[in-house]
């Protein structure tokens, strides 16, 4: 197990290198360079060609593409993520500032969708063909097909504006700092972000559970005289769990992608809303770092999924 994890972590290094190169290349190919974004157009109009060339020279933009990539890469590896073009704040400061909020939201959505999805999916499978099952099927299809931002707007309208139960946005109020003070703020964005994933997990858990309940070891368990709950949960659900864990792992990137939009809708001060701002302002260093961070998160998530499947299914061998 340990050697597997170490090996997987080592494989992550070349993958990150390739992806970082692609990200750098992609941004190199976009029109304009740092100078044209740093100086506002009016000032630029009064500058001479020599002044531009001087600035480029000072910023190192005259070096070849590979040279610049190498400089950037060595800096990143040393933990120096560079500075944001707008405002000149260190990117590491921005990331440290914003990342906790995004993690909070994603973890909430992940836990919520896993729990609710599994419970509803199992219920649906156990009451196959009943009213509950049919209702959940319809809800599941709606959940998968309606985009999250729409749910977000509807949720704000109903629960924040009309009913006034929950705050419409933001993460914390001044003076409210404990976990429970902040809880009301995370409920709406967290649930909205997890809706699509919950619906997916539910449908998948249902079919996986139905499959497992039709297997022969269920009959063996019944022939042993075990009570229904033990047959369904200890024997049925446990076997149904493996594919569900794999699905959740694969869906993690959509959770990260979804949080970009949801953070915008709920004014959640996370890295997603920062990302949108950075793209709009052509703040390339920041865009690159955030993109690299999400790639890293996805790679780590898939490693965790592999380890988890090996833990819950003895037939899976890591290696």
């Amino acid at each position: 197990m340990l050697t597997f994890i170490i090996r997987r972590l080592l494989i992550t290094i070349p993958m990150m290198l390739v992806i970082s190169f692609l990200v750098y290349l992609g941004l190199e190919l976009t029109p304009g360079d740092a100078v044209s974004h740093m100086i506002d157009p009016e000032a630029a109009a009064r500058m001479t060609e020599e002044q531009f060339a001087e600035m480029r020279e000072a910023l190192g933009l005259n070096k070849t593409f590979l040279e610049r990539y190498w400089i950037w890469l060595t800096n990143v590896v040393q933990g120096n993520f560079g500075h944001s073009l707008s405002g000149g704040v260190a990117i590491s400061t921005i990331v440290l500032d914003r990342l906790p909020a995004t993690l909070e939201l994603s973890v909430f959505a992940l836990v919520f969708s896993t729990l609710i999805g599994c419970v509803l999916g199992t219920l649906s499978a156990l009451r196959r063909g009943s009213g509950t099952d049919n209702a959940l099927t319809v809800v599941g299809m709606l959940g998968v097909s309606i985009p999250e931002f729409f749910f977000g707007l509807v949720a704000i309208l109903i629960f924040a504006l009309n009913l006034g139960w929950l705050p419409a946005g933001g993460r914390l109020l001044p003076g409210y700092e404990t976990f429970f003070d902040r809880l009301p703020h995370i409920v709406l964005p967290g649930i909205v972000l997890s809706l699509m994933m919950t619906a997916g997990v539910m449908r998948y858990a249902r079919s996986s559970m139905l499959d497992s309940l039709s297997r022969e070891f269920i009959r063996t368990a019944r022939a042993k005289g075990l009570p229904a709950w033990r047959i369904n949960l200890i024997h049925g659900f446990r076997v149904a769990l493996t594919p569900v864990v794999v699905l959740i792992g694969f869906r993690l990137p959509t959770l990260i992608g979804g949080s970009v939009i949801i953070e915008q809708v709920f004014q959640w001060p996370g890295i997603g809303s920062e990302f949108i701002g950075a793209v709009r302002g052509s703040d390339y260093p920041l865009v690159m770092m955030i993109a690299l961070l999400s790639v890293f998160a996805v790679l780590m998530a898939s490693l965790i999924v592999d380890v988890l499947t090996a833990l819950i299914d003895p037939r899976v061998r890591l290696g």
Partner: protein, 334 residues
Amino acid sequence: MTDLALSVKDLQTFFYTNNRCNKALNGVSFDIRKGKTLGIVGESGCGKSVTASSIMQLLPRLSRIEQGSITYHSETEGEIRIDQLERDGAEMRRLRGDDIAMIFQDPMTALNPVYTVGFQIAEALQYHTDLSPKARGEKVVDLLTDMGIPMPEKRAKEFPHNYSGGMRQRAMIAMAMSCAPKILIADEPTTALDVTIQAQIFRLMNQLKEEHGTAIMLITHDMGVIAELADDVAVMYMGNIVEAGTVDEVLRTPRHPYTRALLDSVPVLGRGKDQDIKSIRGATPDPYERPPGCQFEPRCDYATAACQQPQSEDYITDTHRVMCHRYKEIFDNV
């Protein structure tokens, strides 16, 4: 005190699919004697497994016992009418795995892949005995030792995929025997195993029968297995028992044309490769469009017009019974 372990009388189990009714068991009666083996033979789809599922109350949702009785003769509680118990109710669950246990055809899929073999055997003990977890662990090792599994302490902690096919069936038998059942139902226990393993499994079952006095209901389509292991035999065809009796009676003096046809279709070792193996002509009729009288009539070489009338069971001896209009005439021809 009766010497019977289980009596089945006029059992009818119907399946309902697509608004049609399949009379899977159409009036089946037999007894399982204490400490004896009853073999049930017949081709695929004749109702062998449905009989087993009816006794265990493990029928699929869309089927039910319509008529007849299944009586378990308990040593401590007198007669228990299994057919009147709630399918998954507490009483039925108490019998299952404790008084009546079952082993299945395919040991590859009958064990749960994510739990250790020891855990799965201990589960039955947990629900039917008062043993402590530690005592259960020791009992599991004892059971595996009895089944001839080497290194039982280590093996108990392994998963089904670490076991070979024959070992898994042994583990299944260990599970079934864990609570010393009075009746063991074996539904084609060796069909999925290769022949050398078959012999080992049957030897093991016979040994258990002798040591514990367990009655065995052995479902098979192999006449050789019946000759070897069974005390009594019942031949099933299309949801009926067409002939039943002791092994000697049925195998040496078969009365029903179907029994004879089955015996004729078995190749005999030593007769060479040119021996005349007779297949039964035709195919099993559609269960939804059954023949009006004798179910075997369309395929029977001895059929006459009279065979299209409903028929009844006739007793030749106290134990030997047959369901055929013409068994007397056919008997005379032999």
